[in-house]
């Protein structure tokens, strides 16, 4: 259990405690008010006063009743008609009226409530509200409160106060809200609420703190180099922001792991690729040492291998530069038509040696901002790949077109070679991939990887499919206007 848990727990519990105190006291105050408002005066004096009031109302009318009422003590006799309105328009608590009606219905002969027909012909319900100040504050009058228990006595002892803000529609009169003991404050419910609030605060704090602790463990694990760590099994099946954070974390580590694995594999492949020419160099040197062979020929072989290692290192650097995104700042307007036509001319020159040619079905021209050298390498590598794998005496077709609706320039390189096994189509753009058919050919499988990285660095895409009529089709799509989001090395737009 960490510090966060305790902080959370303390805040939540304090908030809950405060809430409980506020709600509890409000409830308590209202209850006290209602209790007092519900009281109907039941003493013998009340009966006399009600009888007198009934007589006055019946024979003297409302005006007489009003005049009589003005001399009444602070707990007046109300006369309420059927619609619950006092004949003198004084405010009466509705609960009091309900109580009075019940009394009148249950005990018709009660002296606390009387029903009378007024001079104006309406029927009125008469009763006296037993409001404080009680008799104790009014010398000369006997206590009217017959059922007065200890709590009411306690109320009586307090000094009079002006009405508080919590007072509802009750008859006016000084009130004593706080002077007495906390009458009716329930101890057991208070305690149980307190414990419940403690428990819920604890639960809530734990609920928030636990996934954070899990995340922390995972972060520490990853910092310690264990990229296989996943946090979701620890967090479980939550559905909230913390769970989302956990999922994001897992996705991040997954991608990191994949990237690290890719790097590791690349390093492994590179070491293998460097070692192959080194092994040949050593064999050749061994032969030279023993003077077993034609020296001239062996030295040529050695030179070949050195050139090969040099090329490999150069290509690796190219690949890593493109990957690192060394693109910004040196972009310029590239005329794609011109770029392709140069490549076609070069490739044609090469292909003539084997009696082949490049056919270019030129669709349209387009200009985009980018790195001409990198784009050239990409397209060139694909054309070279086609030349290498297509059988002799077959032609290579290049088709270029502009899709103005999508603002995309596409280049298709089609050959009539043996194609690529379907399961290898996706892999053929990864570094050092060599198809099973091409096992004997020269090269180390970096050309297409470089091509893909170059195209992707320009926000484009590259894909290969086997043609129905035989051979391979490699399609490049380059967006003519690049948005920040499509460039792989810029920050994703929010």
């Amino acid at each position: 259990v960490g510090r966060l848990f305790w902080k959370f727990f303390a805040f939540v519990w304090l908030a809950q405690f405060g809430g409980i105190v506020a709600i509890g006291s409000a409830f308590w105050l209202t209850q006290r008010h209602n209790e007092s408002a519900l009281d109907i005066e039941s003493g013998p004096g009340a009966g006399m006063r009600i009888d007198a009031a009934a007589g006055i109302l019946k024979y003297g009318g409302i005006d007489a009743f009003k005049a009589w009422s003005e001399h009444e003590p602070p707990n007046p006799v109300f006369a309420v008609d059927n619609s619950g309105i006092d004949v003198l328009q004084r405010p009466v608590a509705p609960s009091l009226i309900v109580h009075a009606r019940q009394l009148s219905a249950n005990e018709p002969r009660s002296h606390q409530v009387t029903e009378v027909q007024g001079a104006d012909g309406h029927r009125y319900l008469l009763f006296a509200a037993a409001h404080e100040p009680r008799a104790g504050d009014q010398p000369g009058r006997p206590p009217l409160d017959s059922g007065g228990g200890a709590p009411q006595d306690g109320r009586r002892q307090g000094p009079p106060r002006p009405p508080g803000p919590l007072e509802m529609a009750g008859p006016p009169g000084p009130r004593d809200l706080f002077g007495g003991r906390f009458r009716g404050l329930p101890l057991l419910p208070t305690l149980s609420t307190l414990i419940a609030s403690l428990l819920t605060a604890m639960l809530l704090a734990w609920y928030v703190a636990k996934p954070i602790r899990s995340l922390r463990t995972a972060f520490n694990g990853v910092a310690g180099g264990d990229l296989g760590l996943r946090v979701m099994p620890l967090i479980g099946t939550r559905q909230d922001e913390l769970a989302d954070l956990g999922r994001d974390f897992d996705r991040m580590t997954e991608r990191l792991q994949a990237a690290m694995e890719g790097q590791r594999r690349l390093l492994h492949d590179v070491s293998h690729e460097v070692r192959s020419p080194l092994a040949r160099l050593q064999a050749a040197v061994g032969l030279l040492r023993r003077k077993y062979v034609n020296e001239e020929q062996t030295v040529e072989r050695i030179e070949e291998e050195i050139v090969r290692i040099d090329r490999l290192v150069g290509d690796l650097l190219k690949l890593s530069r493109i990957e690192a995104g060394e693109m910004a700042g040196i972009e310029e307007e590239v005329d794609l038509h011109e770029l392709v036509s140069e490549i076609v001319a070069d490739a044609n020159f090469e292909a003539e040696g084997s009696g082949r040619s490049i056919i270019w079905n030129n669709g349209a021209s387009a200009v985009l901002r980018g790195r001409p050298d990198i784009l050239r390498v990409a397209v060139e590598n694909i054309v070279r790949n086609a030349l290498k794998h297509a059988p002799k005496s077959r032609d290579i077709t290049i088709e270029t077109s502009v899709d103005s609706a999508r603002a995309v320039y596409s280049i298709q390189v089609l050959d009539s070679g043996p194609g690529v096994a379907p399961e290898e189509l996706a892999k053929m753009f990864t570094p050092f991939f060599r198809s099973a058919q091409a096992a004997g050919t020269d090269g180390y499988g970096l050309g297409l990887a470089i091509a893909r990285r170059s195209i992707e660095a320009h926000g484009g895409s590259i894909a290969a499919v086997n043609r129905k009529e035989g051979g391979l089709s490699v399609a490049i799509e380059l967006p003519l206007s690049r948005t920040a989001a499509s460039a792989p090395h810029t920050r994703p737009s929010a």
Partner: protein
């Protein structure tokens, strides 16, 4: 003339090594892919095979497994330098020795010679003896044949040589240095786990004694010992 089978996907390298081996007086046959190499090895007639572990299509280890399933032809592996997993897996699969690649052709020839030497009938000093016996283990070095509890033992040539050295010193520990120079034909180097791997393979083939121990025991800091019964 000693016939050697060279299995490696790198055609240029095999051509160079082939030239070198021919010049050293071997007859060389070259195969540049795994499946053909395996079937050629099983076709017989070779004194030994040199096998590259890093091959596309059929991995060198898989080729070795195929060869070992039917033959005890001595096999020298070419492994990538620093790739311990391949090396140990290869030795466990029954390769007789390994050479890290890239290596000098001289080193390769030395290893080939060391393995071939073991295959020669034992030195004349032991010419008279017909068999070596200890407990349930019987070995006929001249015939390169061994039996354990009356059952024939299928050992690779390296395993046979190691067991023979241990049997000649039965009841006494033999240091790894001695085992390496006598059985592998090369000095023992630190961190070289070849002997341990070969011995654990022999232990597997021999099974355990009635008390559950292996007949070959590692003796701390002294090497290995064949228990005397």
């Amino acid at each position: 003339m000693t016939r050697i089978l060279l299995i490696d996907d790198d055609a240029k390298l095999t051509a160079l090594l082939g030239d070198y081996l021919v010049a050293e007086g071997f007859a060389v046959h070259i195969e540049n892919d795994g499946p053909r190499g395996a079937s050629e090895a099983l076709a017989g007639g070779y004194a030994m095979a040199v096998l590259d572990v890093m091959m596309p299509q059929l991995n060198g280890l898989e080729v070795l497994r195929r060869i070992r399933s039917q033959s005890t032809l001595p096999v020298l592996m070419l492994t990538a330098r620093g790739d311990d997993v391949d090396r140990i897996t290869g030795l466990e699969l029954g390769a007789d020795d390994y050479v890290p690649k890239p290596c000098t052709p001289r080193e390769l020839v030395a290893r080939i010679r060391a393995i071939l030497r073991r295959l020669q009938p034992a030195a004349d000093a032991h010419a008279g003896e017909a068999s070596l016996v200890s407990g349930g283990l019987t070995m006929w070095p001249h015939q390169r044949r061994a039996e354990w509890l009356g059952e024939p033992l299928a050992l690779t040539s390296t395993e046979f040589s190691l067991l023979e050295v241990l049997l000649r010193h039965v009841g006494r520990p033999v240091s790894k240095q001695d085992l390496s120079s006598r059985a592998l034909g090369r000095p023992h180097t630190r961190h070289d786990r070849s002997i341990d791997v070969h011995l654990s393979s022999i232990r597997r083939k021999l099974g355990n004694l009635t008390d559950g121990r292996s007949i070959i025991q590692a003796v701390h800091r002294q090497g290995y010992q064949l228990l005397k019964e």
